[in-house]
Symmetry: C2
Amino acid sequence: MVEARMRSVTNGHHPDLIAALDHLLSSGGKRVRPAVALLTGEMLGAEPEKLITLSAAIELLHTATLVHDDLIDGAYLRRGIPTLNSQWTPAATVLTGDYIFACAAQLAADTGSVEVMQKFAETLAIIVNGEIKQMFSSPAKDSRLDYMERINAKTASMFVLATTAAAMLSPNSEQSFNAASRYGYGIGMAFQIIDDVLDFTGKQDTIGKPVASDLRQGLITLPTIYYLEMHPDDPDLRVLLSGVNFNNDRIARVIQSIQESNAIQASVDEAKEFIRQALSALNDLPATPERQALEELAIYIIDRHR
Amino acid sequence: MVEARMRSVTNGHHPDLIAALDHLLSSGGKRVRPAVALLTGEMLGAEPEKLITLSAAIELLHTATLVHDDLIDGAYLRRGIPTLNSQWTPAATVLTGDYIFACAAQLAADTGSVEVMQKFAETLAIIVNGEIKQMFSSPAKDSRLDYMERINAKTASMFVLATTAAAMLSPNSEQSFNAASRYGYGIGMAFQIIDDVLDFTGKQDTIGKPVASDLRQGLITLPTIYYLEMHPDDPDLRVLLSGVNFNNDRIARVIQSIQESNAIQASVDEAKEFIRQALSALNDLPATPERQALEELAIYIIDRHR
C-alpha cells in the first residue's frame, strides 16, 4: 500500500517525470524507513491510512535526497543499478529531485498534521545543512564527533522523523514521543555505521558499488577514524588524508589495512551500543507485537554486517 | 517584517548557507508576491502574524526555484547581480536551493494550516512539472496555448498560491477563495507577459540581463509567437527556430524586427486582458483600502512596460 501511495501523487504530470520516479522506485531499497514508521504508528494506535501516507512521504523524501546526492557525488550506481544522473542531464536530475520533494511534501500535508509537516521541513533542513557542512569542511579534520554529527544529520534524522511523526499521528503522543525519538535515533545511527562498515567489508555485488567508495572519494567514515586512532602514523593513510596523492596502489593498501584491523570490530561495537540504546527506549513503549518486530528490526540492522 | 521572517529560520545552520541566503535576499526583487499575499489576507481579515509567515514562505519558495533555475540555465546575472551558480559550485548551488525549499516549507507549516501546506506542495509540483515539460519539448512547437500553459505553471501558479493561501488563512475562506484565485491568476499571467515584453523592449541596465536573452537561449515567448503569426515567412526567424544556426547578426536582425513590429503591442494587449479579468475578480471581494491597493498593483503591472 505504501508503494501504491508513493505513485499516487503523480497524476497528470509529465510522462518522463513519472517514468523517472518509476525507475527510482523500482530500483529496490529495503523500505526500512516506511517499515519503522508503520510499526511505530501501529504500536501506538495511529490510524493505518495516515501511517501509509506518512510512510510514503518519508520514503519519497529519502528518494529525493538520494537523487540530488548522487548528482552531487557524480555516482553512477546505486543498489547496483544506474543512477538517474548517469542517464539524464544534470538539469533534468535537479528538477526530478525537486519534483520528488514536492510529492513528498504533498503526502506529508495529506497526513493532516501540522506538527508532522513541521518535523518534515525541519528534517530536510537538517539533512541539507549536514551536507553543506561536509562539503565545506576538510576531510582531514574528521573526528569521531564530526562523524557522529554528520551521520546524525544524514541518516539518523530521517529515522527520528519516521518514529516521531508516527507518534505525532497517535493518541497520547506526548507520552510516547521521547521514547520513539530515542529508538529512531539509535537505529538510525547504527544503520549508518553498519553501512559504513559494509563499505569496507562487503562485496561489490552485495553493496552495489565499488568497495570503500567513500574513502576513494576522500570521505572518512568510522572504520577509518578508528584505524587512524590505532595507527596514527600509517604513512599511506597520512598521504591519502593530505589529499595530494590519490595513487591507486596506496588506496588499495590502506583499504586492506583497515579491513584487516580491529577498526572494523570497534565500529560494529559502536553500532551495537546504539542498538542497545534503541532497545532500551522500546521498554518505555507499549508491549505489542509491533514492538517485538521493532526489536527484531534493530537486531537485523546489526546482523547485516555478517 | 517579512524580510526578518525570511531570515529567522536559519538559526544554527552553517554560516556559508546563511551567507548565501543573505546574498540572495539582499539582491532585491520587488517582493510583489509577499505584497499580494499581505494585501489579500488583510482585505479578508486574516491574522497579520500568519500573513507575515505566509508571505515569507512564498518569497522563499520563489527564491529556491530561482536558484535551481539559474543553475539549470547557466545564468550569470539576475537583477543585475551575479547569480549563486556563477560563484559557487553546482553541488553547493543544488544544496542551497534544497535548503531554501526546506526553510520555505518550515514557514508554510508555521502558518498552522494543513490546507496551506497542501497548496504549497501542489504549487511546487506544478512549477517543476512545467519546467520539465519545457525542457523536453522542442521550442519550435511553441504555440500560444503552450506558452499560456507554460507561464501559468512558471509564474501565475505562485500568484494563485499567494492569494488563495491568504484566503485560506481568513474567516469565510470558501466565499472568497474563487475570486482570490481568479485575481492571482490574472495578475500572474499579466506579470509574466509584461516580463517577456520587457525582455525585448527594456534596456540591459533596467532588466539586469542582456536584451532578448530568452530568444538567444531558444526560448519562444509571446512577442515572438505574435511576430511569427504576423510574419510566418520571415527567413531569419525560420532559420533561428530550426535551431541549426545561432548566428549573431541573424539574432540581432530578428530582435530588431520583433521590437519594431506590432507583436509588442499585441502582447501588451493580451496582458491587459488578464488584468481586466483580475480587476473584475476584485469586484467580488470586500471593498476595503487593501482592495484598492490590489487594484493599483494590477495596474502597476501593466504600467511597468512603459
